[in-house]
């Protein structure tokens, strides 16, 4: 996002000379086809020292609708010798209001979030979309550097395990055919697409099957799912069909909000009603 206070270069030559590869004479070779677009920048992760406490942020819908996901997250982190704390005053990250355009209202909730989590250096959440709200969008509702800095401390669970802690094998066993859906905020706003896959690769007995059109949105989109229901459901049906086509028994995701929508559609699908939807934390806790 280019903010207004950024200086604008008055010399286009600077911008152009920065990359010298634009000559048409440069041969075209490189990464294997189908690898998809390369993320423009790779995030540098801070170092986690063993024994540092981690605050668990449990998004509102997980708290009430999927408490077992939060339990699995707490159990998983504790199992990996991470001291987990759960600030009791926590509520929401403000994303529903933010995405609906109500930034003033979202700002109040963001401030509450920051007050609650200010004492913690590490904040981990089992939802990529909420992590993206904190890390990417807090600055949009309030550019105060203190707010932005607290937002930067929030990590998505699989990202924290793989990129920050360097853990890829959590000692789980799950002998089933599994496919993976990564929410768009996790994939594109956070740039997290490898960590969930690396964790799955080390699960004993797990047979991973590729999801066709894996990068396509499932159509949930928060309030989009009820504001434009026809379009949202049509997108979800495509996702459900792709999951069925993959032949998986279980679809797993770091974003249970997407799965809430996809599962709702799968339950009404004659071939999809037996497919289980799970958060990746639940799977990683299996037979540990």
């Amino acid at each position: 996002m280019h903010l207004p206070d950024e200086p604008i270069s008055n010399r286009p030559e600077e911008a152009v000379s920065s990359g010298k590869n634009s000559d048409s004479g440069v041969p075209e070779h490189g990464t294997e086809p189908g690898a998809g677009p390369v993320p423009a920048t790779r995030r540098e992760y801070p170092v986690y020292e063993p024994g540092e406490p981690v605050a668990l942020f449990v998004p509102c819908y997980i708290d009430e609708f999927y408490p077992h996901v939060a339990q699995a997250t707490a159990e998983l982190l504790t199992w990996l010798q991470v001291p987990v704390e759960f600030p009791g005053r926590q509520t929401c990250c403000g994303q529903p209001a933010f995405n609906s355009g109500y930034w003033k209202e979202a700002c109040k909730v963001v401030h509450h979030f920051c007050e609650t989590f200010a004492p913690y250096r590490w904040i981990v959440t089992p939802s990529g979309s909420c992590a993206a709200m904190c890390r990417v969008f807090f600055g949009h509702v309030d550019p105060d550097p203190r707010i932005v800095e607290i937002g930067q401390r929030v990590f998505e669970l699989t990202e924290f395990l793989v990129e920050v802690m360097g853990v890829t094998d959590v000692g789980a066993r799950f002998p089933h055919k599994v496919t993976l859906h990564i929410g768009c905020h996790t994939r594109r706003e956070l740039g997290v697409s490898a960590p969930p896959l690396r964790l799955l690769q080390h699960v004993e007995g797990l047979q991973y099957v590729e999801l066709p059109n894996v990068e396509e949105c499932c159509g949930f989109g928060g309030t989009f799912s009820v504001k434009m229901p026809g379009t949202s459901i049509a997108m979800g049906q495509t996702k459900a069909e792709n999951i069925i086509r993959s032949g998986a028994e279980v679809v797993v995701s770091p974003d249970i909000s997407c799965l809430m929508h996809v599962e709702g559609i799968l339950r009404r699908h004659p071939q999809g009603r037996h497919i289980r939807c799970m958060h990746i934390a639940e799977l990683l806790r299996a037979e540990q």
Binding site: V26, I62, A70, R89, A97, G230, T231, G264
Partner: protein, 492 residues
């Protein structure tokens, strides 16, 4: 046969959406998927093709960054660059006319038509002409304007509007085109691509020679040389701009780039992002008018300078109209281009239209997205479309627009209040959970609940306690792995 073309061109029902009708159409069309023949598959194929091409170029991201910076410079210095462009192209015999809005641009055009006694017009592809509703205006003037871009020709024959900025007839299959030619041009039915192309060519070729005036768009207006750059695949732009004795080029103010040295990176990006080609078949550089011919350049603002006022949104003007965001967008693929109600469909339309026609009319557009971010990932000039969508949503609820409602504001105020008071949050969420459990016994689901259950089952919360309660009881029972961590150093 020729008369059939003339007839269709003259009676084309040009859809002009204004005010209340515009809003109604938007509300109706954006929420529900439509049937547009091969649109979804074709757009998806283009998207995948584009992705494959990009994956073969390791430095694609650096091209994007360069293009972004060049556009950033150009848009920040429009005042200087437009004057430089005007000075340089005027020195070689062209006439530059500025227009504040579509009406002024049409007035310029009509003046040119009257001055040169123009009877027939051939038109190459131009999105600006769609903004001006030019065909409609020419028709009122008694001038026949024939679309010569194959896709535009087809939608003109069918009496429709373009469904896509690059491939206007993306929704028509070869069989559809065959039937259209059979019905409108009296040709025998065929769905052979080569045969269809021959039919179109037969009907269009003569028109180029007979026309008095050619109209084109502008892909890039190069300031330091005073050059118009046009890219195309069909050859119709070359003919439209060289056969008739008068050429009118229409451009938005944002089309100017500083130097011809900056052109190659855009040509690399435009072909690949638009149609998955390394380079378009033809790239025309028009440096001015030749003796005996006239060249007019009409430079249109039409709301663009309004975009400059919004520092968070001005990169929307970087757009080079490649259509990559449309192809990538899962919403566009399902609702089609017409649902966006105006000239520019898809994600770019959702961020550009509210500026150009006003949030009071197009305030609903930024909400027609699941914010999946695919558009931002493919944009060759790195317009941050997903973040602009949320920015415009914010503006739409703060400024006069169809989505601003005191009821919704009240709901979000109450929500924010509850979210700032943990006890209220737990009460509200507990009620939501209870409501979800009871909802399946209701015979009818109101509002958003009904929208959810139309095609989806509701989530079924487990009978146990919520996480807050569970944590209080069980936090001390959590177990740690007894020995060393099964770890691996980061990045290994």
């Amino acid at each position: 046969m020729q008369s059939a073309v003339e007839e269709t061109a003259r009676t084309e029902p040009h859809v002009s959406l204004q005010g209340a009708q515009f809003l109604r159409e938007q509300n109706k069309n954006l929420a529900e998927p439509g049937q547009f023949g091969s649109l979804a598959q074709s757009a998806e194929r283009s998207y995948k093709h584009n992705q494959q091409i990009i994956a073969t170029i390791p430095y694609f991201q650096s091209w994007r960054e360069q293009a972004h910076q060049i556009k950033r410079y150009a848009i920040a210095n429009l005042d200087k660059l437009l004057v430089e462009f005007e000075r340089n192209i005027t020195a070689r015999g062209a006439t530059v006319l500025y227009a504040q809005n579509a009406q002024e641009a049409n007035e310029h055009l009509i003046r040119i038509i009257r001055e040169h006694g123009v009877r027939t017009v051939v038109k190459a592809k131009s999105m600006v002409s769609e903004e001006m509703e030019m065909n409609h205006v020419l028709e009122a003037e008694g001038v026949r304007a024939l679309e010569t871009d194959l896709g535009e020709f087809l939608v003109q024959l069918a009496g429709q509007r373009p469904i896509h900025v690059v491939t206007p007839a993306l929704h028509l299959s070869a069989a559809d085109v065959g039937r259209l030619f059979q019905e409108k041009l009296g040709e025998p039915f065929t769905q052979e691509h080569a045969a269809l192309t021959q039919i179109a060519r037969k009907h269009l070729r003569r028109q180029f020679v007979q026309a008095d005036l050619g109209i084109s768009g502008v892909n890039f207006a190069i300031a330091d040389t005073g050059t118009i750059c046009l890219v195309e695949n069909e050859g119709n732009q070359g003919l439209s701009t060289s056969c008739p004795r008068v050429h009118v080029a229409l451009m938005g103010i944002e089309k100017v780039i500083p130097s011809i040295r900056h052109l190659p990176v855009f040509l690399h990006l435009l072909g690949r992002s638009g149609t998955g080609q390394k380079l378009t078949t033809y790239t025309h550089l028009i440096h001015g008018s030749t003796p005996g011919r006239k060249l007019y350049v009409i430079i249109l603002d039409n709301g663009r300078s309004e975009v400059l006022r919004d520092p968070k949104a001005w990169s929307a003007l970087f757009c080079i109209r490649c259509g990559a965001c449309l192809n990538s967008c899962p919403v566009y693929r399902r609702v089609g281009g017409w649902a966006y109600g105006w000239v520019y469909p898809g994600p770019i339309g959702a961020i550009l239209t509210p500026h150009l026609v006003g949030l009071d009319q197009a305030g609903k557009l930024p909400f027609a997205s699941s914010l999946c971010g695919a558009c931002g990932e493919v944009c060759p000039v790195k317009i941050d479309i997903p973040h602009q969508l949320v920015h415009l949503r914010h503006r739409a609820v703060e400024e006069p627009s169809p989505v601003r409602s005191w009821r919704e504001r009240l709901v979000w105020r109450l929500w924010a209040w509850a979210m700032c008071h943990p006890w209220m949050y737990r009460l509200a969420m507990g009620m939501a959970r209870l409501g979800t459990r009871l909802a399946r016994f209701l015979p009818w689901h109101p509002g958003p609940l009904g929208a959810w259950t139309r095609g989806r089952e509701l989530p079924q919360p487990p009978p146990g306690p919520n996480f807050h309660t569970w944590w209080k009881k069980h936090a001390h029972e959590l177990k740690t792995f007894p020995t060393e961590l099964p770890s691996e150093s980061p990045g290994s």
